[in-house]
Amino acid sequence: MNLRTFKHGIHPADGKALSANEAIRDFRPTGEMVYPLNQHIGAPAQPVVAVGDPVLVGQTLAQPGGFVSAAICSAASGTVKAIELRRTVSGKEALSIVIENDGQYTPMPGVGERRDYTALSGQQILDIIRDAGIVGQGGAGFPTHVKLTMKEGVQPETIILNAAECEPYLTSDYRLLIEKTDRVLEGLQVVLQIFPQAQAVIGIEANKPEAIRLLTEKTAALPHISVQVLKTKYPQGGERMLIHAVTGRDIHSGKLPIDAGCVVLNVSTVMSIRAAVCRGIPQIAAIMTVTGEGAASPCNVSVPVGTSHRELLAFAGGLKGEPEKLISGGPLMGVAMVSLDVPVLKTSSAILAMPEDEVARWEPTACIRCGRCLRACPEFLVPPMMAHAADNGDLGAFEKVNGMECIECGCCTYVCPAKRRLTQSFRTAKTAVNAKRRAAAAKK
């Protein structure tokens, strides 16, 4: 088979066997639901409900706070209990709408009703996606309607469905691909309805043979959709790596996928588009994997957005012993959680319970200049030079050695025999450079 990929990258133990065979279970929590207003890239959403208001499933709680922003809809029915600061997954506090969940899950009229997408225009579909508050579920949470809104005269050639799921342990996309294959493909066709000239390519890693078989079989009769099997390698699902593997075109930090003629969408995102356009259901659920060697019974769950991680974990069978680390997301790019009392976001993908924290086991030591990081970096960067600049606070030098191209995938840090915390240094330096750039732009 012709396996495409990118250069460099790593092969960590994938841990997917823990949960890959567990069918997605539906979960209807009864506890309070919390909706931070900034769970996407761009301006925070603006609340359109007030404390005391009754809400129904699918009801808009907050509308976009600008063009690059996203609406937020309720996943439960009940009443608005508070609009206040609440701790989020990242550990920071954010203004959030809190819903007292009545446990009834009474839907808004129209939610769940069938709609024929073929009768809709591209603009009508974009409006539905915007109102449904759909954001990219690959991690960043970029508003999908913004991604799909093209400049005058620009049309994508390739819609790439990111089915790589290269993060170890995560299996939610895989489950969707094998359980809801038809819906995923219908979602892709909805996107193709917006861009009739485009071809859709499903980029999927070779370690998912069952999904590849189903997709290949079901796309045989669909002329605009094809399957591209990719080598199993992290970070194959990184946007730039995926575009390279599928089209052979390369973009850097100053460019967008559309500059390579591409729009890249995650499996869950396409599922959300399908649910919004074909069933009138806004983005109110996250498909999550509750897993790790510290999870009592690893599984995949369809979780209403806003659910407390603590309630989700209890539903999923709880923990096996005391984990040293709890991660929201995968082991390479996920966020370590301070507390389980934080809400599930639209971009949430997993709870990973690690019995042992490998980071704590190793103290960073001197760089031996072995060069393994250079051979792992999918961006062809020189991590030791970046770290030297970053650790000395020399932001100019950091930019000069292409530091801003770092995608924070963690490959360099994973392979480093000296156990240096490279990605952490780069993240700090990138944040500082971005702050400097914003300050400079504000002055002008």
Binding site: L332, T365, A366, R369, N402, R427
Partner: protein, 333 residues
């Protein structure tokens, strides 16, 4: 309480100590061959180097109240490489003195592991070579021919005494320089006079294969270095008009310190470039310098000097060979 840190949250099993362990394992065939060829005395020199390097590192870190690094194994590897570069016939204070120079002066005073600008073992060897040329000379002849009738008897004798064999033999590299031809098979297996770990090409290649297989080194630096040396030697011989035979060229590869230098010293992480093109330039430069020294120099050997001169230019080579970032390739920066 749960731990908090930024991603990534997993690490590969590799550590500096496991990497150094692999290098030490890879050095074993060459060193064992040295003991086989030069006798028990060689083993004594190897042990002295290893112990003194490790001890120097331990004492320095301890006395300066710095974090103890002796367990990373880098000092041990330096000791083994230093021993590889000494003739078995050296007086026993030489390994001790060399170890102190390597670890204290060349490595620790520059900031320890990762900070030294020259390969500690090689810089120490060059220091000893300049300071005590008579003691660092060709040294003991090999125990005998590979399959000679007296080989076993001579070997038995060497393994029961620590005394130095006073007779000195010309190294095959010197013979090549003097216009003689060498027995390539003997040279390939390492039955000739020279430094402890450098004589047996086959043993060094076994070590190289192990390191390549384990991903400790890439073939880029040693491959280009060896090829460049042969090419430049051929070029210079052509320029000088001296006869250029297959025996001469292959002899250049299998005798002297070239193979050991290319496999174990030119590939030293700390003192070689990390950028791919930097590595190419570095290896080419080492080949050029080695050929210059071997063809035009007063000594037959030139590998050690070539490598430490190359070491000092590494920061410059890296600076001009920063790779283009992904997505910036093929387009103007």
């Amino acid at each position: 309480m749960v731990n908090i840190s930024t991603s990534p949250h997993i690490r590969s099993g590799l550590s500096t100590a496991t990497v150094m362990q692999d290098v030490a394992i890879a050095l074993m065939p060459a060193l064992l061959m040295g003991v086989f060829v030069f006798g028990l005395r060689a083993l004594l020199v190897i042990l002295l180097c290893a112990v003194c390097c490790t001890l120097t590192e331990y004492l320095y870190r301890r006395l300066m109240k710095l974090p103890q690094t002796v367990s990373d194994g880098s000092a041990l590897v330096t000791g083994l490489i230093l021993a590889m570069n000494l003739p078995a016939s050296v007086p026993l204070w030489i390994p001790v003195f060399g170890a102190v120079i390597a670890i204290l002066v060349v490595k620790q005073l520059f900031g320890g592991l990762g900070q030294n600008i020259m390969n500690p073992a090689l810089a120490a060897r060059c220091f000893l070579l300049i300071s005590f040329p008579a003691l660092m000379g060709a040294g003991m002849p090999a125990v005998g021919n590979l399959l000679g009738p007296d080989a076993l008897a001579a070997f038995g004798q060497r393994m029961t005494t620590l005394a130095v064999d006073a007779t000195t033999g010309a190294t095959p590299l010197q013979m090549l320089k003097d216009g003689q031809s060498v027995d390539l098979l003997q040279a390939f297996f390492g039955f000739h006079s020279g430094c402890i770990g450098e004589t047996s090409t086959v043993a060094i290649l076994v070590g190289a294969a192990y390191m390549l297989l384990r991903g400790v080194i890439s073939p880029r630096i040693p491959g280009i270095y060896l090829a460049a040396t042969v090419a430049f030697v051929a070029l210079f011989r052509a320029v000088t008009g001296e006869p250029l035979t297959g025996n001469y060229l292959l002899g250049q590869l299998c005798t002297g310190g070239l193979m050991a230098g290319a496999v174990f010293m030119a590939t030293d992480y700390v003192t070689s470039p990390i950028t791919p093109w930097g590595q190419v330039i570095y290896a080419l430069l080492l080949g050029l310098l080695t050929a210059l020294f071997r063809v035009f120099g007063s000594s037959a050997e030139g590998v050690s000097y070539a490598i430490i001169i190359g070491n000092t230019l590494v920061p410059l080579m890296e600076k001009v060979t920063i790779p283009r970032a992904f997505g910036k390739r093929g387009v103007a920066r």
